[in-house]
């Protein structure tokens, strides 16, 4: 029995029972749709997050106080730990300790709002060095200038602000030279950044950068840092530099066992790996859920194929009487169930693509995310293969039942 004929016969019999065939494959359709959406949205989320991470630059190394967070509850420990102090920065600056370091800048986070005249706005206020910001993100003031080393040494009350902060407080008029208020202390605006949007997990347009020394002394009253940001000479020496940094700070803190570290180091590569791990686990988990739905769908297919075999007992008897072998009958029903589920897979892929496009449209237009839709070719191939495989596996039992039928009894069947 040739394949083309088998295919045509099976297809005809499925078309003859359109609504039943459609209901039968619903489970498969939903399963494959889910796979498509999960993979597509997963890829989109991953590239979005990875895009943010790449914003910090491959040469940047961030040192944070406290222990490496293992979960959300550890984050607080990071924020309130005071282990990173000026002596660490001094040690890092020594060429003999960290030879490939080109720049180092401590940072503190200042909670609060900023006001000018009657306007108040809640931006992200960082005590940092403006030069580091410009160097890391390749972002230089559109108007005015960055504050320099002198401002940091003198704890000057100056600020460089993001484009949105400027717009909220000053509207159309110039901000340069104006005094804005943070926690009742006045800061003179000396620079305004051009619009850039979301980069490296914060919105550049919503920042206010003041000298970290000023922020620590006058705004926070603390003597430790929330972060120390280091720039390595080039991406190739990042791993080596991380080692040097860890050794240096351990020495400063008198730590011998790395398990006792009261700081941790984050690099772009490390974060990328971490995100990829998380996404991998998430995808695996969701895939397991989808696999269950495919099994349920497959049982549905098996059920209907059994009904179909019983209904067509006479046809089977006739085919056997006129020369069909058991193998011919087996193939016919197996091809039928595989076509059924593969069709479900194809419909699922089409629906999945539509839903993924819809998701990316909504995320882009309503949530203003820099979301990119990617058509997951792998998921398409996988989807069709898996659905056809489900048909094969769950088609075997009904097809065997059909092949086993005794032609005499089958012909007599009413």
């Amino acid at each position: 029995m040739n394949f083309r004929y088998t295919f045509k016969t099976s297809f005809t019999s499925l078309i003859a029972n359109k609504s039943r065939s459609a209901l039968t494959i619903l489970g498969i359709v939903i399963g494959i749709t889910a796979i498509m959406v999960i993979v597509s949205v997963g890829n989109g989320a991953e590239s979005l997050i990875l895009g943010e991470i790449s914003g910090m630059g491959a040469q940047s190394i961030v040192i944070r106080p406290g222990k490496q967070p293992k979960g959300p509850s550890d984050m607080a420990g990071t924020l309130y730990s005071d282990s990173l102090k000026p002596r660490d920065v001094a040690a890092l600056k020594k060429k003999s300790n960290v030879p490939y370091l080109v720049n180092v800048a401590p940072a503190v986070i200042v909670p609060g709002s900023v006001s000018y005249g009657g306007e108040t706005y809640i931006p992200m206020i960082f005590g940092w060095t403006a030069n580091m910001m410009s160097e890391m993100l390749n972002l230089y003031p559109a108007e005015g200038i960055n504050f320099g080393e002198n401002a940091i040494r003198d704890k000057a009350s100056v600020a460089v602000i993001g484009s949105k902060v400027k717009k909220e407080l000053f509207g159309g008029s110039s901000a340069l030279g104006k005094k804005i208020k943070i926690k009742n202390k006045k800061f003179r605006v000396i620079g305004v950044y051009p619009p850039r949007g979301q980069v490296a997990f914060f919105n550049v347009d919503e920042v206010v950068i003041v000298p970290y020394t000023t922020a620590m002394t006058y705004l926070l009253g603390i003597s430790h840092y929330n972060e120390i940001i280091v720039r390595a000479k080039n991406p190739e020496v990042v791993a080596r530099t991380v080692n040097d940094i860890e050794a240096t700070i351990r020495e400063t803190h008198g730590i011998t066992d790395p398990a006792d570290d009261d700081f941790f180091v984050v690099t772009q590569k490390g974060m990328v790996n971490q995100i990829k791990n998380i996404m991998g686990v998430l995808t695996a988990f969701l895939s397991a859920v989808v696999a269950i739905s495919l099994v349920v769908g497959g049982i549905g297919v098996m059920n209907i194929m059994l009904v179909s075999v019983t209904e067509r007992t006479r046809e089977i008897g006739l085919r056997k009487a006129i020369g069909a072998t058991d193998g011919d009958i087996l193939r016919q029903f197996l091809v039928e169930s595989v076509i059924l589920t593969a069709l479900g897979g194809i419909i699922g892929i089409a629906l999945g693509t539509v839903f993924s496009l819809l998701t990316s449209f909504i995320l882009t237009h309503y949530l203003d995310l820099n979301w990119s839709f990617s058509f997951p070719f792998l998921a398409v191939v996988l989807g069709i293969a898996v659905s056809a495989f489900v048909g094969l596996i769950f088609g075997i039992y009904p097809a065997r039942q059909a092949a086993k039928k005794n032609p005499i009894e089958a012909l007599r069947y009413e």
């Binding site: 085919r319 009487a321 006129i322 020369g323 069909a324 072998t325 058991d326 193998g327």
Partner: protein
């Protein structure tokens, strides 16, 4: 050597204590080209006999040789092939595929024959023409009369050009006029094409179209004789 040799054939249904003998000590030979009617009331074992002769069932004891070979000389797939190539079957209930056209129904045995698909249409069209249904070739069974459906079934039995055609009550579901046109075709196959025909019927009048009748009663052969005055479904029969 006879085409069909049956010797001391027995068929017993059931096992253990409850057994029902369906065929008992049946022996006869059929030569190639014969037209035989197997007669008997219902329950006489004629369908059982047909199933054994058609390699659809297996006897309990005794010998059945088709072309010199028994069912045990073949594997399961080879038996299917013998049924496909050397035997044609026509059933009382027609057993056509309901949603397939006349052409598709007649082609069905070719599907399992190993013949190239390119030749199927021509072969099927030929036999459909020979039973006079060419103008119905695209119709589905539901659009045909009973007589026409049985002619489709006969065409299907002929398409692989088999030695033997088994007919199980072919006129049983037909009115007398349609029955006669069907018998006309069957007689033609015997007279003009010299095919071996084994016809099962419980009607004396249908059996009279054959040249020889074997009467079964309670699973035994009670008579095996030449038909003295063969009925002609059409005038040409001598």
């Amino acid at each position: 050597m006879a085409l069909i040799e049956v010797k001391n054939l027995e068929k017993i249904y059931g096992d253990g204590d409850v057994t029902t003998p369906a065929l008992r000590d049946i022996s006869f030979n059929i030569e190639s080209g014969e037209f035989i009617a197997v007669m008997g009331p219902s329950g006489s074992g004629k369908s059982t006999l047909l199933h054994i002769l058609g390699f659809l069932d297996r006897q309990t004891s005794g010998v059945y040789r088709f072309g010199g070979k028994t069912i045990d000389d073949y594997s399961k797939d080879e038996i299917a092939h013998v049924r496909n190539k050397k035997m044609g079957f026509v059933f009382q209930a027609f057993n056509l595929l309901p949603r397939a056209t006349v052409l598709e129904n007649v082609k069905l045995p070719l599907v399992y024959s190993g013949i190239k698909q390119a030749e199927w249409d021509a072969m099927a069209t030929d036999v459909i023409k020979s039973v006079g249904l060419l103008k119905r070739i695209k119709h589905e069974p539901s659009q045909l009369s009973g007589g026409e459906r049985q002619k489709v079934a006969i065409a299907r039995a002929l398409v692989n050009n088999p030695n033997v055609i088994f007919l199980d009550e072919p006129t049983g579901n037909l009115d007398s006029k349609s029955g006669r046109t069907v018998m006309e075709i069957i007689q033609e196959l015997s007279e003009e094409e010299k095919r071996t025909i084994i016809l099962i019927t419980h009607e004396e009048s249908t059996a009279e179209y054959a040249k020889r009748t074997i009467h079964l009663f309670d699973g035994r052969v009670v008579s095996d004789e030449k038909v003295k005055y063969q009925r002609a479904a059409r005038d040409f029969v001598k």
